[in-house]
Symmetry: C2
Subunit: 589 residues, 2 copies
């Protein structure tokens, strides 16, 4: 099934929900605006549809393999990567000094959606490169930046992130990889696992970012440093020279994303260069963590969109049931099939609105002139990031599953393609921090740590939308009541968490995922309702595409009716606290 | 990961929730009781653990293949099947006149859980044989019964169900396979798809039950007849003789259950024998549909139990995080991991209680002496069957997904095995009627058709449990309030459906899945709370295993806190009715 970028919704979100034009003006990016963004998305859409999407099933059926000289990527991926890099897609948001185009982060996000929808396994490669560039741009010395960033921005080299070890997954304090100083560089030794695109033959070099421990480092997370370890060391011209002592030992045999090699990497006295200061590696990872986690959340949106497009087409073509006149009925006319498709459509629109909104906050924090504004936007980034990562990826499980369900028995047959989306999506709630880790971050560092201040500010913004609904006498009471109820749940949840976490060490961990999911649903509702208000205003003045705008009203309504009530179940569960969760002994499980 | 049957919970459900001893006494099966059941389950558990479970991954990694002389099953399956058949496991519930042991259906269900947990792909073969035997035993002539049933009861031959065709999936009215009379038999021609265990080399014969149309048959479902089509026609001694004109053309390449061959079957003038009367095939299928649908629901329980056992073991062994004394923490001590495991455990116990209860109603309907009682139990079977099929299989998606999530990154690696359960489970909401079909059955034939009478009777029984909670001043208010709230949702949902379906042709289809899921959650709560009342009574008198019984109280509490509140979300969604669902045009999707 082919993929076509849903440009109309992306444009709507950028223009009317994110306020992209104002964002660019405020940032002093005078030549950038929504019209330019749409033109760029149009080009990216072609690349996605024509080059990357056709390779999606190819990668699934022909996984990357480990050969004599390293990992051999799936057929066609190298050629696609070359076209992709030559078109400049890797440098979109990179600063001009490193050869980039310095476009806003949110535009990069909108474009990334396309790569991840078209081919999630492939899309991980540029996604990881972006993360690596981010870390280097923020923390490495000018010399390292000049040596590595321009080649990464053109896509000539790719980047990887090497964090996980067999005993250090969610718990990075347990990292054991060692780094020993030797002149101007270090020797890195250890084994890393689950390294995405850790090796391949698509580019002449690969830039590994590696967490390791110096001999005199303090124990735990305060003793982790970050190193650049190139696959090939650079010669005097800055070109790949001698092979470094890093290699892929084996590849994982995974449920999905077969086109993305997941490597066990062995560093055996490999030459590495310290990024920034010693023992600050984890905080450097966190710098780019917001970016990486939002990107994985975006993958949840992207794979759900792909699954939706496929299910929608099938539902329009597949006939089951017969009318009185003998003609057969496309299943999209059956109410329960519509319910499934609408769940997909409405949630996807909510997810897109949230992903773009959170991403735009990164731009606003960067470009804000005023320190207070900067701090507010930075706090919003921190607050929304675990929701984007946690909620969007959890939703992608449900939505890709509905994608199979719409197909009936054909959905279970691999050649149909619906099952691949379901398998590919399953990693998203796990990597870059599981949902449990996101939820702990959200309830702990993002809520309890500031006594709920950032969350209160968000709830107040939502309350303005609720006010607006009342003021304009929004015609649909399902929307008004549904949103108001859910907002009340959010307010109550925040207060409950603030007042119960101090007395009970297990409360936060017990309530965290329900707390995160509640705010995921609510944020989605907030932005869909905001969009519906915009769409209604446009319909009232006769502006825009009537069919599209009315569909926005219907999505918002369906979401308020069918999805927002889940906030009540989340609230009840989080209020149950920790006592039943902690009461059972290990043997009683 | 090995599998061990959770005999203690199975015994608890049989003895204290189903009331197996009383059931057997009422049925006049004086030699059968819970002690005997436990002894049988113990034997079955050994077969499951030692013979079937070790082949689970073998079948996944080595799918059935189509060779020159038909389908070749996965390695080891034939030997396992022989042991299984020789031990008499196929004849457990078959009547004595056909060589069976005539044990209660619910005991067959308890035993079937073991096969389906141990090896879902394998377990489909006896499951289909049971369904075929059921149809033959109820509807075929004495001559056909004598010719086929004894050999099927010993497991010497297997049985299949041939319903689906490329254009006839959920909509069996569209069946096109033709049957033309020829002397004492018929000639069957047509293609059937998605035929589970349609061919294999495990037995010298296979008995296909096939839906087909006679030349003069009325259009639609009233023109479908049921035929027996043996793979090998029987010779004068009743042994397999000449090869019949039925063969497997190809196998599906599926997401899961790789060990179960899913066949495209070609019937080319194959010799067939009419079962019962012409044109009544669909009603004959429905006779065994309750059995088959409950069995698929049971598969949902079984695969969730298997996934739970694996996740639990991993959570006890995997260390992440460090205590102040430097020792590392098994992840089962982290609250969110406990939350996931408890969700699995509590839901599985609810699912088991519901599966056994519904299955026991088949026995009660069969053995009831009094016509009123018989009718009541028969109505309860009809009512609970779509809930068992729909809700248990939907839950199995969530629970096998949690099984992966508990494993973190290792869950995504195929060798771990968690992913196989997730893939295997995904068919369960589709085959034997999708969740949408179950929900239409539940809201239509099972609720609206009798003006909600059967459902009211069920709600009244639940209300007795709520009364009992109040009367004994049950110590846990979370249980009392949680169950009472959910019961209120059920009462309101029933009334809403009865009062809104008549005015709106699309209401039932729009509300159906939420209606079914609400009652699934509620039935699970009803039976867990009933069990908790029993457990509390036993604890009060000091009877039984204290650890186990206290765990039952905790499961019930967790379920009331964390799972039952979802009924509110279901109710809100069903009350939204059809207007947003039907409003969007096809082009607006």
């Amino acid at each position: 099934m082919s993929y076509v970028h849903p440009y109309q919704d992306a444009e709507f979100v950028l223009r009317h929900i994110v306020g992209f034009d104002a964002l660019c003006t405020d940032a002093g990016l005078d030549e950038v605006n929504t019209d330019l963004a749409v033109a760029i998305l149009d080009e990216a859409g072609k690349m996605g549809t024509e080059v990357l999407a056709p390779l999606n099933r190819v990668g699934d059926a022909n996984p990357a393999k480990l050969g004599g000289s390293g990992v051999e990527q799936s057929p066609g991926f190298k050629e696609a990567y070359s076209q992709f890099a030559e078109a400049g897609w890797l440098s979109l948001t990179v600063r001009e000094e490193f050869g980039g185009q310095n476009l806003p982060n949110v535009l990069g996000t909108a474009v990334n959606e396309i790569w991840q929808s078209a081919n999630l396994a492939y899309g991980l490669c540029p996604l990881l490169s972006q993360g690596a560039m981010e870390s280097i741009a923020h923390h490495a010395s000018a010399a390292l930046q000049q040596a590595y960033l321009p080649k990464m921005a053109t896509g000539e080299w790719t980047g990887t992130m090497n964090l996980t070890e067999p005993d250090a997954g969610s718990d990075l304090a347990a990292v054991k990889t060692r780094a020993i100083a030797e002149g101007d560089h270090y020797r890195i030794s250890g084994q890393k696992i689950f390294i995405t695109w850790g090796d391949h033959q698509m580019t002449p070099n690969i830039v590994h970012l590696v967490l390791a421990r110096l001999p005199d480092a303090p124990a735990g997370v305060k003793g982790i440093s970050l190193f650049i370890v190139p696959k090939f060391m650079l010669d005097e011209n800055g070109e790949p020279g001698e092979r470094n002592a890093v290699q892929c030992l084996s590849l994982e045999h995974k449920l999905g994303i077969h086109g993305s090699p997941t490597c066990v990497m062995e560093f055996d006295q490999a030459v590495g260069y310290l990024v920034g200061e010693a023992n600050k590696g984890l905080s450097y990872m966190f710098t780019m963590m917001n970016h990486a986690r939002q990107s994985v959340g975006l993958q949840g949106l992207a794979i759900a969109e792909r699954a939706y497009q496929q299910a929608r087409q099938y539902a329009k073509e597949r006939l089951q049931g017969t009318r009185r006149d003998g003609s057969r009925i496309p299943i999209i006319q059956h109410p329960d099939v519509r319910r499934m498709l609408l769940t997909m459509k409405a949630c996807i629109e909510a997810m897109r609105a949230l992903a773009f909104t959170a991403s735009a906050e990164i731009d606003r924090a960067r470009y804000a002139q005023d320190a207070t504004q900067k701090a507010l936007h930075a706090a919003r980034v921190e607050l929304l990031t675990p929701i984007v990562k946690g909620w969007l990826t959890e939703m992608s499980q449900e939505l890709t599953s509905l994608g199979i369900q719409v197909h009936g028995g054909m959905g279970y047959v691999e050649e149909t393609g619906a099952a691949q989306h379901y398998r590919d999506a399953r990693i998203l709630t796990i990597y870059e921090g599981t949902t449990g880790i996101q939820a702990l971050d959200f309830i702990g560092r993002k809520t309890l740590a500031d006594q709920g201040a950032a969350l209160l500010a968000l709830l107040q913004e939502m309350d303005q939308v609720a006010d607006e609904l009342r003021e304009i006498t929004y015609p649909d009471q399902h929307v008004c009541k549904g949103f108001e109820n859910a907002l009340g749940m959010g307010v109550e949840a925040r207060e409950w968490v603030l007042s119960h976490a101090a007395d009970d060490a297990h409360f936060a961990g017990s309530a965290s995922v329900n707390f995160l999911m509640l705010f995921g649903y609510l944020c989605g509702g907030w932005l869909l309702v905001s969009g519906a208000l915009q769409a209604k205003a446009m319909l009232d003045t006769g502006a825009g595409d009537t069919d599209f705008l009315q569909a926005k009203l219907l999505s918002a309504r369906f979401y308020c009716e069918h999805v927002l009530p889940r906030t009540g179940a989340c609230l009840a569960a989080l209020k149950a606290g920790s006592s039943s969760i902690m009461a059972m002994s290990e043997d009683q499980f």
